[in-house]
């Protein structure tokens, strides 16, 4: 049994009085223990929605309208709020984008860490502090003992994100969901933080769902990749395999559009148009208006995800490799 198994997940938001729009339109996903998955897509593709759904955090009036999320065989969607709390922040931790927003500005780092621990464990204050210092050292925060009494504003952005990671690790989770953990940080700090997350996941055999728009970061950190477009997974597979030979025209277009791949003075490949909002999805494959391979079939039917690629006209082996 897979550690996490998501089947046919739909998330819907009401539109007007009677109708609904779907932010996720049937996503399937399995994750084994210790596996690192990258979820890639543009804004509005539904990648954060997926993370929120796993933790039962979809805000009203949105709801999971269909599907199941099994964590060790137990459907998270059927758990009571009390039971989900024993999993959320405990066995599944989350790291969000902006550490300044994640951390409470009026509480010291130590208070916030002890609070997290005490929510999930019966532990004395002294022991909790000791554990917090150990975790701060694990994420390489210099002079960890004194930092415990510091407030978030006294730390730099990189150190703050390290604190957030230390908090996420406090309860020894089996899965960490990281939603754009380095987008608010500088490149050198991003490299530090991603290297740290990668090391911690490897050392402790923690699974990771890394949500990002940055294909470079995904390539560095994850083993498997899931590319999302307009609420659906369009391509999934081994990270390096997809990066070297994408089969879905959207994945191929995204990769070709990266400036790394174009020589200097040459034009970048560009995907025409932009992703449609979920309120105005075209019929059939949502990507067809931007796709140069689209035919009438693409306008009528949604292509199923087969062999890791949801496309009626995928790139063949030679096209994909070029």
């Amino acid at each position: 049994m897979a550690m996490l198994e998501i089947k046919d997940l739909h998330v819907a938001f009401p539109k007007g009085k009677k109708s609904e729009v779907e932010a996720l339109r049937g996503v399937n996903l399995t994750l084994e223990k210790g596996e690192r998955l990258g979820v890639v897509g543009e804004s509005g593709a539904g990648k954060s929605m997926l993370a929120f759904a796993i933790l039962n955090l979809i805000a009203e009036p949105g709801r999971v309208s269909q599907g199941s999320i099994a964590f060790h065989g137990e459907n998270l969607l059927e758990l009571s709020e009390r039971d989900i709390r024993s999993i959320r922040g405990n066995r599944i931790s989350m790291i969000f984008q902006d550490p300044m927003v994640t951390l409470n500005p009026v509480l010291s780092i130590g208070t916030q860490m002890v609070e997290t621990l005490k929510a999930h464990r019966r532990i004395s204050d002294a022991e909790a502090r000791k554990l917090c210092i150990a975790k701060l050292k694990e994420v390489a925060i210099p002079s960890a003992e004194s930092r415990l009494d510091a407030y978030p504003h006294e730390l730099s952005g990189g150190l703050r994100q390290r604190v957030v990671i230390a908090i996420a690790l406090l309860t020894d989770p089996e899965l960490i969901i990281a939603d754009e953990p380095t987008t608010a940080l500088d490149v050198t700090i991003q490299a530090e933080i991603m290297a740290l997350i990668l090391k911690l996941c490897r050392d402790k055999d923690v699974a990771l769902i890394l949500i990002t728009h940055d294909l470079g970061v995904v390539a560095e950190v994850t083993e498997r990749i899931m590319i999302m477009y307009a609420g659906l997974c369009v391509e999934t597979g081994a990270t390096q395999q997809i990066i070297q030979a994408p089969h879905h025209p959207y994945s191929a277009g995204l990769l070709k559009a990266l400036p790394q791949f174009a020589g200097r003075g040459t034009r970048l490949y560009q995907i025409p148009g932009s992703m449609p909002p979920i309120t105005a999805l075209p019929p059939g494959c949502a990507y067809h208006p931007r796709c140069e391979r689209a035919t009438d079939m693409c306008k009528a039917q949604i292509p199923p995800l087969e062999h890791g690629c949801a496309c009626f006209h995928p790139l063949d082996q030679t096209e994909a490799a070029s």
Partner: protein
């Protein structure tokens, strides 16, 4: 080099910080500490660095949105930093700016035509109504905007479309020089390529000169002719783009290049030490990069290295660069 379109000589910008009324010394933030650059016509001169390095302040100071505390700025050989507003007006036609966030830089209550007509009316008062309309239409067509957009408001557009409108606004007075401050970093990957191609095309058609401010080195590698790497208000290295990427001379440049996630993976495998920027208020006397530098010696902490030209034409501010 007197044929430079824009030249700065030793510009400094200091921001006074709020002080306690009894304090003897008034703290000052050094945003720019003597920057000398000369941009040749037709260049895409890139400025890279992390947040707080002064790259945006440099762009704003050249544009006259920020007055320098010291130093000189020349535009086509004419000194502009001490001009009054009236004398500067004809020069403003020739230098325009594109900002990072098209959600913030367009007035939400003004339709596209008004947004685009405003700079012409203000800077080219001799133009008649029909001439203004013709000019707006010409620039909309040149930037790939539909003529029907003129009566629409910014909220009706996607991020990429808004950035096209912001570029159109910058071009509407037919400038020769554009400061583009992170023009693509608020956009999705597939849209970034569209905007970069547009900037390339416009440069070819109109002979524009760009000062391109970014934190993204892969964009620099694709787009830039020359690059200045900045750190804490100083230029650390200035080189031709190809030279900078093939033979980086300053240890900070190497750190930046090393931090770029590689699509083949592997560069985040080793943990990295947390790097801290020194306090820009109490700057250390020596090299600003010394606290993070793997090569730093005692000399670096006391004696600030000047920017000097090396054998291969690169300028670097490091005692050990050769």
């Amino acid at each position: 080099m007197t044929d430079a379109i824009v030249e700065t000589k030793g510009i400094e910008v200091r921001f006074p910080l709020p002080t306690h009324f009894l304090a003897r010394e008034k703290p000052v933030l050094h945003a720019l500490n003597g920057v000398d650059i000369a941009i040749q016509p037709g260049e895409s001169f890139c400025v890279v660095g992390e947040s707080g390095c002064g790259k945006t302040t440099l762009g704003r100071t050249i544009m006259g949105l920020q007055s320098p505390t010291a130093g000189e700025i020349y535009f086509n050989g004419q000194r502009i930093d001490q001009m009054d507003e009236a004398a500067r007006k004809p020069i403003r036609r020739d230098m325009q700016m594109v900002f990072q966030n098209p959600y913030a830089s367009l007035n939400p209550r003004r339709n596209v035509f008004e947004t685009l007509a405003e700079p012409i009316r203000h800077l080219m008062p001799e133009k008649t109504g029909p001439e203004v309309r013709a000019q707006v239409e010409e620039v909309l067509a040149a930037t790939g905007c539909d003529p029907s957009w003129q009566r629409k408001l910014p909220h009706e557009f996607s991020g990429g479309q808004r950035q096209r409108i912001a570029i159109a606004r910058a071009l509407v007075t037919n400038p020769a020089f554009i400061v583009a401050d992170e023009p693509i970093s608020a956009l999705d990957v597939s849209i970034q390529a569209q905007i970069l191609n547009l900037l390339d095309d416009l440069q070819a058609e109109r002979g524009l000169t760009y000062l391109f401010i970014t934190h993204d080195l892969s964009v620099v590698e694709h787009f830039g002719t020359r690059v200045a790497v900045m750190y804490l208000g100083r230029v650390m290295e200035l080189a031709e783009t190809d030279t900078l990427f093939s033979a980086p001379k300053h240890p900070y440049t190497r750190l930046l290049l090393d931090a770029i996630p590689k699509i083949e993976g592997g560069s985040f495998d080793n943990p990295r030490e947390p790097g801290e920027l020194p306090d820009p208020v109490n700057m250390p006397p020596g090299c600003p990069f010394a606290p993070r530098c793997p090569m730093a010696e005692a000399r670096c902490r006391t004696e600030r290295p000047e920017l000097r030209t090396l054998d291969n034409g690169t300028q670097a501010a490091c005692h050990f660069a050769e």
